[in-house]
């Protein structure tokens, strides 16, 4: 397909907001603060920023470069992009990762996104305002665990999930500029305004005296920031901290997912990549470090003390977001209206963070179907919506049986490093370091310092190889062997894996069919 036939971004700010919206997700506000306090506090920022400079931003440039190169040749997803960069029969099949992972993550991500919509509704209607800590925990568990659904109706999670899917696919069915770009232009400012208002409110809270397990302490939001940013120098000697920081950079920038390359495929030949890539990364980092770092931990420390915050953080990021934060809002001065407003802003910003990411995950598969099988955007969008709804139901039903965890680990964690490594090798090593460097500077508004050519060629792939090796030994093998999995969950986990393999196999078959179709077209 020629360049003129493909959609293009309507404006530079729309493009950057959409790219940043892709990157800014739930993890910026829930995962980052927890990672920071668990991995050295202030010292976590040192490996974190080093990883940003050596892995995050280079990968951002690589993805923009791969995407634009493929897009100019009519490819909006990695099978075609890799085939354009590397004329080898295997390259298109390696690109299956860039179709598989965003589709798989999209499905369970929409389910989690639907929680934020549900909690926005609960906040607005005041349903969580009278709950104490055990009550709030039961309220949350009842929603996410249908087997123990004692508080909510069985049907409620399905309704919010269906609404979330419908909104997501209505946006993507409208196309790039009228759907995705418009959502980013509306959603991202709302997200930043909501987050900024909440940060100001949290940081101006008065100190609170709390008695926990017989110990009375008084603390305020600055103690939360102290808890988060006080350096623990011993942590720097721990390789686990460095890998946690690199992992966080991966998740937060959404690199290795296949969605950034899809967005970049709609760039023009002379569009800037270098500065736009940095602006996108910086927008995401501002949302994460400045806003995400100033919300959950300072608020929770103020009302629960450091010991309470540690106990909550151990329960996971969702406990922090969906149990602790509503309890914080219940204790804000100003009464029910302030509580409701804070809840709507918190879950509203999480919803916008989620949806601006999930629409990007739908883009590679839709582009692949449209470009290779001639389907319209609407037809492909609503077909994928139907598939996502059906498979999402399995997540709702089997959530606490580890169904979602399998998908999250193989597609949403380990797979990211694999795809990032594959695309780095193809773009930098196979396509060639000089070709890659020149491609990045086509239309560039700023020249990347020369030493970055060495970083992109050697340091970034080395980081990725070490990370993949570490994760394989530390996590992938035990996960594969289902170590520590309760016996009653094993069949569900196997079913979850079988479904993953079926999706992968189907997408490989689609790639084969698409290339056969192309060959038949050429011969005709």
């Amino acid at each position: 397909m020629a360049e003129a036939q493909r959609e293009q971004w309507g404006s530079r700010i729309g493009l950057i907001l959409a790219m940043a919206g892709n990157a800014v997700g739930l993890g910026n506000f829930l995962r980052f603060p927890r990672q920071a306090v668990e991995n050295g506090g202030g010292t976590f920022m040192i490996p974190y920023f080093i990883a940003l400079l050596l892995v995050g931003i280079p990968l951002m440039w690589i993805e923009w470069g791969v995407g634009r190169y493929g897009g100019l040749r009519g490819h909006g997803s990695t099978p075609g992009m890799f085939d354009a960069l590397w004329k080898n029969p295997i390259s298109k099949y390696l690109g299956v990762l860039g179709l598989f992972m965003p589709v798989v993550v999209l499905i369970y991500y929409c389910y989690i996104e639907s929680w934020t919509m549900a909690w926005t509704f609960f906040s607005l209607t005041g349903q969580t305002q009278t709950l104490d800590q055990p009550g709030m925990a039961a309220f949350f568990r009842s929603y996410v665990d249908l087997e123990n659904g004692t508080v909510h109706g069985f049907w409620l999670p399905f309704v919010f999930f269906a609404i979330t899917i419908a909104i997501n696919f209505w946006v993507v069915s409208r196309g790039l500029t009228a759907g995705i770009e418009r959502l980013a232009k509306i959603g991202m400012p709302i997200l930043f305004v909501f987050a900024a208002v909440l940060v100001v409110r949290v940081l101006t809270l008065d100190p609170v005296t709390v008695t926990r397990e017989g110990v009375t302490t008084t603390q305020g939001p600055l103690d939360g920031l102290r808890f988060m940013f006080t350096p623990d120098w011993k942590a720097l000697a721990n390789p686990r901290v460095w890998l946690a920081a690199t992992g966080q950079i991966f998740f937060t920038l959404s690199v290795g997912m296949g969605s950034l390359v899809a967005y970049a495929s709609y760039l023009k030949k002379k569009d800037d990549l270098t500065l736009s890539g940095i602006a996108t990364s910086a927008t995401n980092e501002t949302a994460e470090v400045v806003l995400g770092g100033s919300l959950a931990i300072p608020a929770v420390v103020t009302f629960f003390g450091v010991a309470g915050a540690v106990a909550i953080a151990k329960g996971g990021s969702f406990d922090l977001g969906f149990i602790a934060m509503p309890l914080v809002f219940n204790q804000l001065p100003g009464g029910p209206i302030v509580t409701a407003a804070a809840g709507v802003m918190w879950f509203g910003l999480l919803f916008f963070a989620g949806i601006t990411s999930s629409v990007s995950m739908a883009t590679p598969a839709l582009a692949f179907i449209e470009e290779n099988f001639g389907w319209t955007r609407k037809r492909s969008a609503w077909t994928l919506a139907a598939v996502a709804t059906l498979l999402g139901i399995l997540h709702i039903v089997f959530n606490t049986r580890g169904f979602l965890d399998e998908w999250d680990y193989w597609a949403g964690t380990f797979g990211l490093v694999v795809l990032a490594l594959v695309e780095t090798i193809i773009f930098v090593w196979v396509f060639g370091p000089t070709n890659a460097w020149n491609e990045l500077h086509e239309g560039a508004a700023w020249r990347i310092p020369r030493f970055y050519k060495g970083i992109i060629t050697f340091v970034t792939p080395a980081f990725l190889i070490v990370m993949m090796g570490w994760w394989t030994v530390q996590e992938a093998v035990p996960t594969l062997l289902m170590e520590g999995v309760p016996a009653e969950n094993v069949p569900v986990k196997w079913a979850s894996r079988a479904l993953l393999l079926a999706i992968l196999g189907f997408e490989l078959w689609l790639i084969r069919a698409a290339w056969k179709r192309k060959a038949a077209g050429r011969n005709a």
Binding site: F227, F229, D232, A279, E285, V290
Partner: protein, 48 residues
């Protein structure tokens, strides 16, 4: 990680080490954002 000794300072105090790290982290990301956006918006005639 061992939490810092929260009794070492009066309640609701940031502390020097945390303040320095926070200031550096915020300056880095905000500086990067401001620099990149300023440079992008000053680029003549490229926006659509």
């Amino acid at each position: 990680m061992q939490p810092p000794d929260m009794n070492a300072l009066p309640p609701n105090t940031l502390g020097t080490a945390a303040a320095v790290f926070m200031a550096l982290a915020w300056s880095f990301v905000l500086g990067l954002a401001i620099w990149s956006y300023r440079k992008l918006t000053r680029r003549p005639g490229k926006d659509r």
